[in-house]
Symmetry: C2
Subunit: 152 residues, 2 copies
């Protein structure tokens, strides 16, 4: 796990790139069976007759993988964790296929101290999920709340 | 599965309520292990020391359950499926705990025919996820694209 980070250590424009995660065919199908059983996500045969023409991951699966990746590279490094989050935009730009390697890059867009709780900071960031060809497959903008560095 | 629905059958203000889905403790933990391994989602002991003080579902798990529910009540009823989606807002309002019963209600906010593809319609809807006490646990606004009824 990487070093811990406080709100006070962040600067606007700073970026955090995650490791790469392999998207496995069986995880695509298992996710779809539980949460998004549309033909394009369930199996190759059903997907062939869908408008995608091939098996692709649910967008919510891509969102979950992105959460995992940016938890490791950024949000999981906040001592005390994140105290709430709101997504302002979440869009899926390209299909994610079995065997794809995804990375997530978070860029800090805005930083402000909470007015009601000055011991907390609000971090707005854009997280771009990229495949092994550096193509954007998902883009998300979100604001999270996290504790500030304790005053000594 | 409910009857099929075309874009042309929808009206602004129309609502679609899903069935209820039980949130099981073991699914909360399994989801967290794969996508969101924060202490409040992983097990009761780790959760006790987190700011939540108890085991709660990942917001992304709630989003997945919501997808499943509104696929059954609305989106899965579109012949030809949905051809793309964008989330404009996604916020988690209250914790989701093991044993909670979630329902999702979608309300049609806006309807417009695609300018570039007049055989497709764009549907903007707000989906509210409620627990067994009718409390809002998640709210989402999204726009999806779906085929229009074929002209005879």
């Amino acid at each position: 796990m990487s070093d811990s980070l406080y709100y006070d250590d962040l600067t606007i424009g700073q970026t955090f790139m995650s490791r790469a995660q392999l998207v496995e065919r069986d995880r695509i199908v298992a996710f779809a069976q539980e949460f998004d059983p549309q033909p394009q996500h369930l199996n190759e045969e059903a997907a062939r007759d869908s408008m995608f023409g091939e098996l692709v991951a649910s967008g919510w699966h891509t969102a979950g993988i992105t959460m995992r990746l940016q938890l490791e590279s950024l949000m999981g490094r906040f001592p005390g964790g994140t105290l709430g989050a709101q997504v302002n935009k979440l869009a899926w730009l390209r299909p994610v296929r079995p065997g794809d390697l995804l990375r997530a890059e978070a860029e800090i867009l805005e930083l402000r101290v909470s007015k009601s709780r000055p011991d907390r900071g609000l971090v707005t960031m854009r997280t771009t999920t990229l495949n092994q060809r550096n193509e954007e497959v998902q883009v998300m903008t979100a604001t999270i709340m996290t504790p500030r560095r304790p005053q000594s």
